[in-house]
Amino acid sequence: MAAPAPQPGAIARPPVVAPDAPAAVSGTTPSPSVSVPPTSTNDAAQPTTPAPAAEQPAKTVTAGTPDANDLAAWEAALAADSSQTTAVAANAPQADAGGQPAAATSALNPDISAIADFALAAYSKRHNLQLGAHDPALNGFNFQALELALGAAVDPYFRFDSNIVFNTTEVDVEEAYATTLDLPAQLQVRAGQFLTRFGRANPTHPHTWDYADQPFALTRVFGGEGNRGIGSEISWLSPLPWYVELVASATTAGGAASSRSFYGGSGRSVNGPADLLYVTSIKQFFPLSDAWSLAWGLSGAFGPNAQGKDMRTEVYGTDLYLKWRPLRAGSFQAVSLHAEMLYRRREIPWTTLQDYNSFASLLWRFAQRWSVASRYEWGSAALDDGFHTRPDYLDPQVTAERQRVTASLSHYPTEFSRLRLQGSVDLPKYLPAPIWAGLLSLEIAIGAHGAHAF
């Protein structure tokens, strides 16, 4: 806490301000004060700013620039304090003595929300290549997921978020991680089970998707759940004048539905750092204007695969998000383009398999409650070092390229409910006929109002 500079003739106490009575602080300014007119309604329970400690060193300190010697002295004093103190109360958040009655103990409950996704699906072929864990893959009615999200600040230093997904037969802790809130040097650490920040689509949940299913690029490269694992992540917000964030994480390399290009379901154990999956990414953002935004990311995932001793897998990706949302009065319009490309290399005995998977999606929100979107996806077969098609040990049937075109129409009665009609045609060259699909999905969300990432 910085100390106030003594003013000539000023009262020797820190400013204690009752907001409804600014004259109370005019001891430092001899100018005539103007009283705030009373409002017609009840003025009870006005807050006062809590007074800092009484002793004040006589030294001018401005915000954000404390003297280094002073800080060292304070640190020494605090260290002495903490060694003498047996029970130290947590540095509880300072209560904003509020004008509103503080809610009861339930105010300390975490933010809880439940999001349910249901879909009615019709595919022209029963084996429809839908492998995403939340994809409505069955003809007829599908229960995609019930996602229970819990989140809260733990203390002034951490927050905790979790996503627990219920299917009809199982419960899956998709995410459960702590995030640091106030590390120095613009660093942030996440620890626990989380979706890695590879690209833009991977860390998202169905609630923010523009389609009822996920792009096959992620399903094919990482698995039905997308890339996630138990581990730790550090990210750094650079001091550059534009937004540059560097992210690096280390997570478990196993999991058939989350790390299939790595250890996957092989059950390999960790014998050293080389048995972990490392994801790095650089994320940049350019506010081109008030209406135009551009986000661009580069990502890499590096880890072992189970095809032999010291066999490695590398995945490189780039993601682009361009959004136009005019901030004109009375407009709900927005247009966004989201594209990602993934390049995967897997070492296997005698050669290396490589393939490409990509998608591009264009969304137009044309009214307060309506949006349309279309998506094009393309994936190559697995190719060896000489770019000859090779059988893929993970997807033996994929012997040629695959394309899919999807269109969706979404209706949002409110922010908390969504109806979606979706059609797609899947054109895998390794199948004799295209797969047509029609989907109707419903999503509902109850509970706390989540804050959305851009």
Binding site: P15, P19, L187
Partner: protein
């Protein structure tokens, strides 16, 4: 790759010291709050706004560069009452700046400074629309409450930057002086509205009505965040006719076609209110309220 990193670090080293250095870096979520804070802070505070005045503050994109602004801030001033709940928490966490988190001294929820209206008396749920459980957050339309907000902002600035306490107090007194005379001017200009019944689009004019003695008969939105159906509009029209409502008020970011039609049928007029001052182009709270008052007076 190494070369790229080297370039990044060199660029970082070159750019870091050149940033402007006010004593207090202040971020306000809305343009009206930013303007008030800037008046108080004067040359000792650099103040920027996150939402633009043409933007509905309920629905702001959490564009990442805003987190970058927040990362460098000493003080975050918010409207509160869940107005910014859909976007501000993401930015606060992303900023990695513990100074501006809820509970820290660098976070000022201005709704704590005023008496809040429209506080639900019953247990709320979303069948009532996208309701604000803590009460109505649109208090910046009432200059009396703005005075209290200003006093709270000045106190917090002085707490964070005690060396400039006198300057913040002087800034506050200057602002309050101007506000007091402006308030009288506005009240005089709008004296004819006292006792009038009006319809608003969103439930955002509660404090405005409280200040000027208007009665808000109903909202065009049947529930907060829910657009009206034809049946809703028909009901509102008969209500307007029955009560003799001659004025439809709404912020610029709401659609105006339905309001316009209602007004024509009821023999009323629509006045579109600015959402705040165009702070980024040098306008302040007084310009904003002057525009608002002028629009209310000008239409026949």
């Amino acid at each position: 790759m190494r070369q790229c990193l080297a370039i990044v670090f060199v660029a970082t080293a070159m750019l870091a010291p050149t940033r402007a250095h006010a004593d207090l870096k202040v971020i306000a979520t809305t343009a009206d709050l930013a303007s008030v804070a800037a008046e108080i802070g004067g040359k000792h505070a650099s103040v920027i706004t996150l939402a633009l005045p043409t933007q509905d503050p309920h629905f702001v994109d959490a564009r990442p560069h805003l987190a970058l602004d927040l990362a460098r801030a000493d003080l975050l001033i918010a409207v509160g009452l869940e107005l910014e709940v859909g976007w501000l928490p993401t930015l606060q966490t992303g900023s990695r700046n513990g100074k501006v988190l809820k509970g820290a001294r660098g976070y000022l929820d201005c709704s704590q400074l005023i008496d809040v209206l429209d506080v639900p008396r019953e247990r709320v749920d979303r069948s009532m629309g996208d309701i604000h459980p803590g009460g109505n957050p649109h208090y910046m339309f009432d200059p009396r409450r703005v005075a209290k907000v200003a006093a709270g902002i000045a106190a917090r600035m002085a707490e964070l930057d005690p060396g400039n306490t006198a300057a913040y107090q002087a800034g506050l007194q200057h602002f309050l002086g101007k506000l007091e005379s402006a308030r009288k001017r506005w009240e005089q200009a709008l004296a004819s509205l006292r006792g009038q019944k009006v319809v608003s689009y969103h439930r955002s004019l509660t404090y405005f009505a409280d200040w000027l003695g208007l009665t808000v008969s109903t909202q065009i939105e049947p529930k907060p965040g829910i657009p009206p159906s034809p049946r809703d509009l028909a009901n509102i029209l008969s209500l307007m006719k029955a009560q003799g409502v001659k004025l439809v008020l709404q912020e610029e970011w709401y659609p105006a076609n339905a309001s316009q039609m209602l007004a024509e049928h009821a023999g009323a007029r629509v006045v579109r209110l600015p959402g705040g001052p165009d702070y980024d182009h040098g306008k302040n709270y007084f310009d904003f309220m002057d525009t608002l008052v002028a629009r209310l007076r000008s239409a026949p």
